[in-house]
């Protein structure tokens, strides 16, 4: 069966520090991968999605970037965090090439101080 791992679960970082959140999927190949952010009391905002290695689509220009160095690995990064980067970050995957549901990781609570 397929599983998705996302870490860390919580993170407190100072303003101006770098960020690296990692997400890996097991039990499938060539998945679509997604990063979402959920600000307090708001819905989900799609940040990036990827349909293959090295293929990244950015939905919202901001202080973040994403990379997909391996088929089932998706990394969210920032060189210098801003206070506004605080939020709940969710990684998700879906079957590549198909209109099917997505499966979510447990999320990372990021607090920038």
């Amino acid at each position: 069966s397929q599983t998705i791992h996302q870490w860390p679960a919580t993170l407190v970082q100072p303003v101006g520090s770098p960020l690296s959140l990692e997400c890996t999927v097991e039990g499938t190949s060539n998945p679509n991968l997604y990063w979402y952010r959920q600000a307090a009391g708001r819905g989900l905002q799609l940040l990036f999605y990827s349909v293959g290695i090295g293929q990244i689509s950015s939905e919202v220009p901001q202080n973040l970037s994403a990379s997909r160095p391996q088929d089932r690995q998706f990394i969210l990064s920032s060189k210098k965090l801003l206070l506004s980067d605080s939020g709940f970050y969710l990684c998700a995957w879906s079957e590549g090439g198909m209109r099917t549901e997505a499966f979510f990781g447990q999320g990372t609570r990021l607090t920038v101080v």
């Binding site: 679509n32 989900l44 939905e59 879906s94 198909m98 209109r99 549901e101 609570r109």
Partner: protein, 114 residues
């Protein structure tokens, strides 16, 4: 463009009473629709999905949803609310194309009163 509208940002029910969370979609073709649930500080869990088979879809934890094309609706219901149902619920549609991301509604927060 395909979209979903969740008509209520917050719904409050008493334990043991029915739950109705409303969702309308816009789509020029037969859509794929989903409901997800999110408990505080947790990831999203799929409750149920509609993919052009039976219009009444049964999901986990006693939830179900009915696809009504004439009303462009996909409302989520449960006959009797339980305290553990208190959470955020999202209605979701998949746009055309095999690799397009899911489109989320803004969510409905369900409160269950003892």
């Amino acid at each position: 463009a395909q979209s979903v509208t969740q008509l209520d940002s917050h719904v409050s029910v008493s334990e043991g009473t029915p739950v109705l969370l409303r969702c309308n979609y816009s789509s020029s073709y037969s859509p794929s629709l989903f409901w997800y649930v999110q408990h505080p500080n947790k990831g999203l869990q799929l409750l149920l999905k509609y993919t052009s088979a039976a219009t009444l879809v049964k999901g986990i934890n006693g939830f179900e949803a009915e696809f009504k094309k004439s009303e462009t609706s996909f409302h989520l219901t449960k006959p009797s609310a339980h305290m553990s149902d208190a959470a955020e619920y999202f209605c979701v549609v998949i746009p055309a194309g095999g690799n397009t991301p899911l489109v989320f509604g803004k969510g409905t927060r369900l409160s269950v009163i003892a």
